[in-house]
């Protein structure tokens, strides 16, 4: 079985999302980057170090948060994270201090002295994140960190991930099967499917290229079909729009589109029921953006943590 096939990409510092459906090869890529799995062909480097030759050096400076549960229930978060800090090479005194700091940063306070077995899923995810950050890595690899969390927990985790980069200065590679959630968090999104690269571009480009907005308006006596009236007005001002029943799908080309929509609706004297960004599903990306399904090479100019993988594994 080939998990990754001729995948070539460079990843720059920042928060990078790796999106793909289950079995797309996300976890395989992470394992290759950690030097845990040898690619049958090709090579990869992380932080300028070769994954085959310097796996141990890479793992000293990289944190990893696995997808599945990996916590012993019978010890406290403090004991567990402390042990993991030592396993990363930190001397005991420093490991203690870093453990306390890191648990505080991920939002675990008094409960950190209680056995992990009694934690909620959200707290467990925080402990998993803490053990990945405790040795102050330059890069963390987070495999599906929002798995199993409720919407509030999801948002908190995504904020925390964003802070890992902005406040802690640690680069992040985060995987998910939901493009929508990574769009909000990441500077750059890489989409893989079936082990090949589908897309790799900055989130800004991404949203500009594909962003649509859903608009719903009220009807009035002058305009019994409000949606049709707004549609006509928008087409008049040069905005691409398609009607989907009472819902108008407006292509957002730049910030001014929002103003155009607002002015058009106000000008007609209608009420604006909703105006919301459409979430992209991963499905949209499977529409032929790259119809020949060839791997798309993406090259960044700056290679601080180039993880260029050409990997195909049996």
């Amino acid at each position: 079985m080939t998990a990754l096939d001729r995948l070539t990409l460079d990843i720059e510092p920042g928060v990078v999302g790796l999106v793909g459906s289950n079995g797309a090869g996300k976890s395989t890529l992470i394992k290759i980057l950690l030097g845990l799995l040898a690619a049958s062909e090709g090579r990869a480097s992380v932080l300028g170090l070769d994954v085959v030759r310097d796996g141990s050096k890479i793992r000293e400076r990289v944190g990893y948060m696995p997808e599945h549960e990996c916590l012993p229930p019978d010890v406290s978060a403090t004991e567990f994270v402390l042990h993991m800090a030592r396993m990363s090479g930190l001397p005991t005194a420093a490991a203690r201090e870093r453990t306390a700091d890191t648990l505080r940063h991920v939002g675990l306070y008094e409960e950190r002295y209680r056995p992990i077995g009694g934690y909620s899923t959200g707290m467990k995810q925080r402990v998993k994140l803490a053990q990945a950050l405790v040795h102050d890595p330059q890069l963390v690899l987070l495999d599906e960190p929002t798995n199993g969390l409720d919407p509030v927990g999801r948002d908190e985790m995504l904020d925390l991930i964003r802070r890992v980069h902005t406040d802690f200065g640690i680069s992040v590679l985060v995987t998910s099967h939901l493009l929508g959630e990574l769009e909000r968090t990441c500077d750059h999104v890489v989409v893989i499917d079936g082990g090949t690269l589908l897309r790799s571009q900055s989130t800004a480009e991404f949203t500009q290229a594909t962003q649509t907005m859903a608009v719903e308006v009220t009807d009035s006596e002058r305009h019994p079909d409000g949606a049709a009236a707004v549609c006509a007005a928008l087409v008049g001002s040069g905005v691409a729009v398609t009607a989907d029943g009472r819902l108008l799908l407006v292509d957002v080309s730049d910030e001014s589109t929002y103003d155009t929509v607002r002015d058009a609706v106000a000008g007609l004297g209608l009420g604006l029921v909703r105006m919301e960004q459409r979430r992209h599903g991963i499905v949209e990306l499977f529409r032929p953006q790259t119809p020949d399904a060839q791997p798309v090479p993406f090259r960044g100019q700056h290679e601080k943590e180039g993880s260029r993988g050409s990997a195909s594994t049996p």
Partner: protein, 297 residues
């Protein structure tokens, strides 16, 4: 109306994220940390109070007879100890089996069950470091268990003014035998424990491995010896861990065989030693193979 005091007596400063610029001690240190954690863990240190109970009781049970023997020897002015140093572990093999059956699964099944192996392997250590650390930790824990009573016997013998040279030689032989026994027991029980994430299965399988094989071999040896097949009785010793060790120590360390027969002849003794070392090496190899797969799950 009193003015509200507007002064803060204590302020929590969020000092924000601090980077770590200190030393990173790398692979060797990480492996040593794992070794120490596992060694301490075998006696319940650094774990819950409950998990200290069994190993500590076994430790006491293992050492108590030595204290009694020494007390008797001193009180009766004996001119030798009532048993050889190399014999002590054979007499108390049930205690050793219980200890290793409880602690081998705690050393490896726990990591498997809670899927911590990928976390360990995302650290600077390599697969071989994990296996070596766990192997040495359990070997070390067994050595502590085995050497403590020998030390008690030796110190007691010297206090009873028994001949120094003779006692020292016996003690040294006991230490070598203890090391071989620890390696053999640690290896075999870790292989069994690493096969299952279920702790209970591991415990039962290890007890079964050591007691059933010893029971079967020693009764077959009796039968063979009674029918006059002394060589067969000797060779049968190859089929259980305790009798292998007994064979090696009665051939190489001048111990009296615990069973009816030791290995028949020098060549056979050498075979016993080879089998013992081969089993230790095979255990190590099997563990390495086992962790090639689990590291990736």
């Amino acid at each position: 109306m009193p003015a509200r005091p507007d002064t803060h007596t204590g302020v929590i400063h969020d000092i924000g994220y601090r980077h770590y610029d200190g030393p990173r001690l790398g692979r060797g240190y990480a492996a040593r940390s794992l070794f120490l954690q596992s060694l301490r863990g075998a006696y319940g240190l650094g774990r819950s109070g409950k998990s200290k109970v069994l190993p500590m009781i076994l430790y006491a049970v293992m050492s108590l007879p030595a204290l009694i023997i020494v007390a008797v020897a001193v009180a009766t002015d004996a001119d030798e100890l009532p048993l050889e140093y190399t014999r002590y572990a054979i007499y108390l093999q049930a205690v050793i089996t219980l200890f290793v059956a409880a602690q081998a699964p705690q050393a490896v099944s726990r990591d498997l069950r809670f899927k911590m192996i990928p976390l360990y392997f995302s650290r600077p250590i390599e697969r071989i470091d994990y296996v070596v650390a766990k192997f040495l930790a359990l070997t070390g824990a067994l050595l502590v268990l085995l050497v403590t009573p020998l030390l008690v016997l030796y110190v007691g013998a010297l206090l009873a003014k028994l001949p120094f040279a003779e006692q020292t030689e016996g003690f040294a032989q006991g230490l070598v035998a203890a090391l071989l026994l620890s390696l053999l027991y640690a290896g075999l029980s870790l292989v069994v424990a690493a096969l299952t994430p279920r702790r209970g299965f591991g415990v039962a399988a290890i007890i079964a491995l050591f007691t059933i094989s010893y029971g079967a071999v020693s009764s077959l040896q009796e039968v063979a010896d009674n029918e006059g097949n002394h060589d067969v009785a000797g060779w049968l010793g190859l089929f259980s861990p305790v009798t292998i060790l007994d064979g090696v120590q009665s051939w190489a360390l001048g111990a009296t065989p615990a069973g009816p027969q030791g290995p028949p002849g020098n060549g056979a003794g050498f075979v016993f030693l080879l089998v013992l070392l081969g089993l230790v090496a095979a255990s190590f190899g099997l563990l390495m193979r086992r962790y090639r797969k689990v590291g990736l799950s």
